[in-house]
């Protein structure tokens, strides 16, 4: 039954890849990158169960965090054109 789940994740990766290749804007590609990251996390978790050795979950755990950091770095770059820049201070922004 885990094989079905893994197959679903793979189909999703193909669809997200389509979006990454088609674009059209940079933000679509960031969205696809983030989404493929999420799907990789789920894929690793599911594959651990397919092979009967769910020991790789630490890897999924680390991926979830790396993916987040990568996405934030990318978006900071898009928004400010620079990774070292700090956000302009606005009052009341979260």
């Amino acid at each position: 039954m885990f094989a079905v789940s893994a197959a679903a994740v793979l189909v999703c990766m193909v669809l997200a890849m389509l979006r990454a290749v088609l674009g059209p804007t940079a933000y679509d590609r960031v969205l696809a990158l983030n989404n493929i990251g999420t799907k990789t996390v789920v894929l690793i978790a599911v594959l651990g169960f397919v092979n009967g050795r769910p020991d790789f979950l630490d890897l999924a755990l680390a991926y979830a965090l790396i993916n987040f950091i990568g996405t934030i770095a990318v978006l900071k770059y898009i928004e400010y054109g620079d990774l070292g820049a700090s956000a302009p201070r606005e009052t009341g922004t979260e």
């Binding site: 630490d58 009341g92 922004t93 979260e94």
Partner: protein, 159 residues
Amino acid sequence: MNRAPWLWAILFALWLVLSWHFTPLFLFFGVVTCSIAVLVVTRMGILDRESLPLHLAWRAAAYVPWLVWEIFKSNVRVARIILSPRIRVDPSIVHFQASQRTDLGRFIYANSITLTPGTVTTGIVGDDFEVHAIVQEEIDGSEENTMNRRVARLEGEAG
């Protein structure tokens, strides 16, 4: 309330669960690692009631299941839009007032809005939330008001 020991305890519990080795060597590594992490965080001065909201823990236990149910319902709605043979969306950006008093409360509310598919918080200035919705009905129903009230209650009297 001093938060550093709490953070240390949480981190060490995480270490124990993830490692599950109880030899002296590994316990020693865990103690050292957690201590360094707590030390760094304390020196950075970011350990406060926003970064470790312990005072919300009990009320969050009631909020999270409700949020999960909301997420499920809006997932079904968005799935229906996507799977319909001709996609019918009328996306719009809506402004409305949030009634939370603290930044932490607004943060939780904004993330709850984003976490339910169909609505994404795109910007916050003061109390004014700017929300993008995939269809108009997602936003102007009573559910956003319910969520608003629930987060305000979660935030509690202490504020």
